[in-house]
């Protein structure tokens, strides 16, 4: 029963991810006085892409073809271990939050290799920049997570969230630092403004788009879906770790339904905030990104130290 529920939660996660992307686009369009596409446009795009014949460069090797499947499954697996509507599901125990970061690294490894595979300047540029940014962002994220896991003395997400729920709203300075660090990292890792711009194909600005330039058809669909999943994963992580109230602790219908509504509302708010910040800020120069990320790193470290010095 629990395993079935975990499976359903994962499927829900995977199927809701494009909706979140659509909602962000909707908010952004509204804020920028443009006419918004339907909320379900991302689903239509994915559908269209899976029904197109993929074109692969003659230079590409088997790695290029297999990479989208690996990236997508790594993200699905990551989605399966993050509590979305309920805690204490069995899949959460199979991989803790460090492994979750490992899944992201796994997907990124193949994405960058795929970018390098065709041997164009764009792919290499994207791969190089992606690895640079992630090698700064990943430790910052781990530090932010460690703050939480040391408070809860567990790296298991379910237990950690359970701990926060149990101890109620204690205003912890470490959590505030960690929250801000986490938000900064999430923006960098999901390739949003001001680090990367998901909407452009200008060579000077793009990182993620540069790597996937050669993809088409179902391969592109998988990668797009995977990056939507990644965005949602970060959203759910922020929402459920720092504001876990409402998540289902018992596995009853009402609790689950309430949990679902709760997480949808939280994600909608987070997405709205993202849309606002994307409207307000401009993209940074690439060599300013390290300042941004080292700020995140510093915040995370401060969070960790303030936990150690102040809270125990």
């Amino acid at each position: 029963m629990n395993w079935l529920l975990a499976l359903i939660q994962t499927l829900l996660f995977v199927s809701l991810a494009p909706l979140l992307a659509g909602w962000i686009k909707f908010c952004k369009c509204y804020l920028q006085n443009r006419k918004a596409p339907s909320l379900f446009q991302p689903y239509r795009d994915l559908w269209k892409l899976t029904h197109k014949q993929p074109v692969v460069s003659e230079q590409a090797s088997w790695l290029f073809v297999i990479a989208p499947y690996i990236i997508f499954s790594a993200m699905v697996l990551a989605a399966s271990v993050v509590p979305l509507i309920a805690v204490n599901l069995p899949t959460a125990a199979s991989a803790d939050i460090i492994v979750l970061v490992g899944f992201f690294a796994f997907a990124r490894f193949f994405l960058t290799l795929a970018g390098l595979d065709v041997g164009t300047a764009f792919g290499g540029m994207g791969a190089s920049r992606e690895m640079t940014i992630s090698s700064l962002a990943e430790p910052a994220m781990l530090m932010a997570i460690f703050t939480l896991t040391m408070t809860a003395s567990s790296t298991n997400l379910s237990f950690a969230i359970g701990y926060v729920l149990e101890h109620g709203t204690v205003l912890r300075p470490s959590f505030i630092f960690a929250l801000f660090a986490m938000i900064l990292v999430a923006i960098a890792e999901t390739g949003r403004i001001p680090v990367d711009n998901p909407a452009t194909h200008l060579e000077l600005t793009m990182i993620h788009e540069a790597m996937i330039l050669e993809y088409s058809g179902r391969h592109l669909a998988l990668i797009e879906w995977a990056s939507q999943l990644k965005l949602m994963l970060y959203g759910v992580l922020i929402a459920n770790i720092f504001f876990p109230w409402g998540i289902a602790e018992q596995l009853s219908f009402s609790a689950l339904g309430y949990g679902l509504l709760n997480i949808l509302a939280k994600l909608a708010v987070l997405a709205l905030l993202l849309a606002v910040s994307e409207t307000l800020f401009a993209k940074m120069r690439l060599f300013r990104v390290q300042e941004y990320l080292s700020f995140a790193y510093l915040l995370a470290l401060l969070g960790l130290l303030s936990h150690i010095i102040l809270e125990s």
Partner: protein, 710 residues
């Protein structure tokens, strides 16, 4: 019985070494054979033919080489068997050999810790012996005699195995020197180039200086031991004062750290590893560095016994500097084997850092968490020996086929070398610590140890350890960037030189078998880490003298350090999940035959004519990081532009030069060199070269001595 297996491993590796000496004795054998034929004429025809072919000019070297490596493989198998049986038995075997000094026979002791390192060496030796015959075939017998290579390889391996067996300081140092000196000859094997001679000499100096420190360390212990005995048993019971124990620790850290390649005494590593033959670099980097780690653990945890918190702090700081320094320099290398050497510095740094954590927890009275850190360090050492050997052997294959070690001149090898590229992908994924591969598990355990910091009371330690964890996280992320670069530039993209365009897959089955063995183990222990961790549990309980052996609950499926609420990881479940998710979307999306892939040209922005020079290469790939962390390296970058036309607007030619130097040379080694030269000049002043002056010195010395005696 177990000791017999251990001895067999040593004897077979020595045998293989001495057998290699017969490489040039074909004529002697032929003469013997003809002589023997006269005495015993009744041999069947088929035997005669076999012997004749064996002794023919063409086949004799080939068969001998195979035999030498076969014996080496047997030695490896014995080492694995010995290691496994002691780990399963959990016993301690001791023995005395009537070799050595008259009053000090060689003491032998074989416990779980030695057994684990026996296992590490055994696996690497088996892989090397599979790989060796194909690799040495290319050497010209005149310039690079196989006899030398084979002899010193055998002695080298025997030396390493003997270090693990040693139970007295005297035997330990003999074995240690056997290992150091024989590996010097292996580094100097291709001595016709002056750079190689220089690298080998540097290695020899550092090895000897290191050995000196180790001897001093043993000396400190011995002076406190019962009856100035050299046996480890006596050293274990030596009662040292805190300050002398710390002095002994520092001496051993310098000594073993020099061998292990910790920053700043790492400089021999990036020089020596690239010039040695690849299977030797695999052994040196994969295994010899671990022997240094063994020495450190034996000295620190076993002989000194009561570890102190400060030692752990020192190890953490030095380890963090090594880890970060190693990976930063690795990122900037263009020579593949140099890059791997720097990455070894990084990994040894990680191992020492985690060992430092373990010391801190042990000293603060938390033996269970100390055991967890100890296990994490040992597991990382084990994993590193697997994937680093694999990477070096793979680099050897690439060098063999592409005749090149410069990463910037490779590319597109994935299509021309399908098998090697897959095996190297496994290696790169393991070393980048991605889930499902072994590197990840040990890093995960290291993080779990660091996160236990809440049990400590000391505020400084409580804030130091998270910072160390942050350094570890940064190291891991940079390592991933580094190996994406390696794999992406070497195997993917288009060929950047004619050599890599013409490269072929290696046709020697043995070489591929050696690589496959290691790659298979990397994956196996990534998915089922419990196989090794249950052994490590015993090592930890034996060395840390801890009664509750099971720090990590062993289950083939779950890995749960401390408790299930705390953390758990089930790699088999993760693997299953990935396979299911991947298979479903693969099957579903490819069901329609009309949607088959269409091959087409790469998109070239409509300009046409993409050339391999337009790709990113290894220098451009790491450029953003070079710019962000520019203070870490000593960078000299020059761009010369030739300009023409009105106002010199038109650039006709650009020359770009980049040199990246290790700071430790400029800051430490050149000043030392200068000081030594200066001292030599001062001493030179009293050496006039005039015999009367020397006679006067002797006279004066004599007078002084007489005065002192009387």
């Amino acid at each position: 019985m177990i000791l017999f297996l251990a001895y067999c491993a040593v004897i077979f590796s020595l045998l293989s070494g001495f057998l290699a000496l017969l490489m040039r004795q074909r004529n002697t054998f032929s003469a013997l054979f003809i002589y023997g034929l006269e005495k015993i004429p009744k041999l069947p025809q088929s035997y005669l033919q076999i012997i004749n072919t064996c002794l023919s000019e063409k086949y004799y070297p080939l068969y001998l080489q195979r035999l030498v490596f076969f014996l080496l493989g047997i030695s490896g198998v014995f080492a694995v068997l010995a290691g496994l049986s002691i780990l399963i038995n959990q016993g301690v075997e001791t023995d005395q050999l009537s070799l050595g000094l008259p009053w000090l026979p060689w003491h032998v002791r074989f416990d779980s810790l030695s057994g684990l390192f026996y296992l590490i060496i055994g696996i690497a030796v088996i892989a090397t012996s599979l790989y060796g015959p194909g690799y040495v075939k290319g050497y010209d017998e005149q310039h690079h005699p196989f006899a030398v290579l084979g002899l010193f390889t055998g002695i080298f391996i025997a030396g390493m195995l003997m270090v693990l067996l040693a139970d007295d300081a005297f035997f330990f140092m003999i074995a240690w020197e056997l290992m150091s000196v024989s590996s010097y000859f292996l580094v100097a094997f291709q001595h016709e180039q002056s750079a190689n001679r220089r690298a080998a000499f540097l290695y020899l100096i550092m090895a000897q200086v290191g050995a000196m420190f180790i001897i001093l360390g043993f000396g400190v212990l011995t002076s406190y031991a019962d009856g100035y005995s050299f046996t480890f048993d006596a050293l274990r019971h030596a009662e040292l004062s805190t300050s002398w124990a710390t002095i002994a620790f520092v001496l051993s850290l310098i000594g073993f750290g020099m061998k292990a390649g910790l920053v700043p005494v790492h400089v021999w590593l990036p020089e020596a590893h690239p010039v040695a033959p690849s299977h030797i670099s695999a052994l040196m980097s994969g295994v010899m560095l671990k022997v240094a780690l063994y020495g450190m653990i034996r000295f620190c945890f076993d002989l000194l016994g009561d570890v102190q918190t400060q030692w752990g702090v020192v190890l953490i700081i030095i380890g963090a500097i090594s880890a970060l320094g190693g990976i930063f320099y690795a990122l900037m290398q263009t020579n593949l084997k140099r890059l791997l050497a720097y990455s070894s510095v990084e990994n040894m740094g990680i191992i020492f850092m985690v060992l430092g954590l373990s010391i801190i927890f042990q000293a603060q009275g938390h033996p269970e968490i100390a055991a967890l850190g100890f296990i994490a360090a040992l597991f990382h050492a084990f994993n590193h020996s697997l994937f680093k050997s694999l990477l070096f052997l793979g680099a050897g294959v690439i060098q063999h086929q592409v005749h090149e070690l410069n990463i910037g001149l490779m590319g597109g090898l994935i299509k021309r070398m399908p098998h090697t590229s897959k095996l190297m992908l496994v290696a790169c994924m393991s070393i980048s610590s991605l889930p499902l591969f072994n590197g990840f598990v040990s890093e995960w355990l290291a993080f779990q140890t660091a996160l236990q910091v809440d049990v400590l009371e000391d505020g400084v330690l409580r804030s130091l350890i998270p910072v160390a964890a942050a350094a570890l996280a940064l190291t891991a992320a940079l390592a991933a960037a580094c190996f994406v670069k390696v794999y992406g530039i070497v195997f993917l993209g288009q060929a950047r030189s004619r050599n890599s365009e013409k490269a072929q897959e290696i046709d020697d089955k043995g070489m591929l078998a050696g690589l496959s063995l290691l790659a298979g183990l990397c994956f196996l222990f990534g998915v089922f880490p419990a196989i090794i961790i249950q052994f490590l549990n015993q090592v930890a309980s034996q060395i840390l003298a801890q009664s509750s052996a099971n720090t990590i609950n062993i289950d083939w499926l779950w890995l749960t350090p401390v408790s299930a609420e705390h953390a758990s990881y089930a790699a088999p479940l993760v693997l299953m999940g990935v396979l299911i998710a991947g298979a479903i979307c693969y099957r579903y999306l490819r069901r329609d035959p009309a949607m088959a892939l269409r091959k087409s040209d790469t998109w070239d922005c409509g300009y046409g004519g993409l050339t391999p020079r337009m790709q990113y290469d290894c220098i451009s790939f790491s450029m953003p990081l070079r710019r962000i962390f520019s203070k870490v390296w000593q960078i000299e970058e020059t761009i010369d532009k030739q300009q023409q036309g009105a106002h010199s607007q038109q650039v006709t030619d650009i020359q770009y030069q980049l040199s990246i130097q290790d700071y430790s040379w400029a800051k430490i080694y050149y000043p030392i060199e200068k000081m030594v030269n200066h001292l030599a000049r001062l001493v030179g002043r009293i050496q006039t070269g005039n015999i009367r002056v020397y006679l006067a010195y002797s006279f004066a010395t004599l007078i002084v001595l007489l005065w002192m005696v009387s």
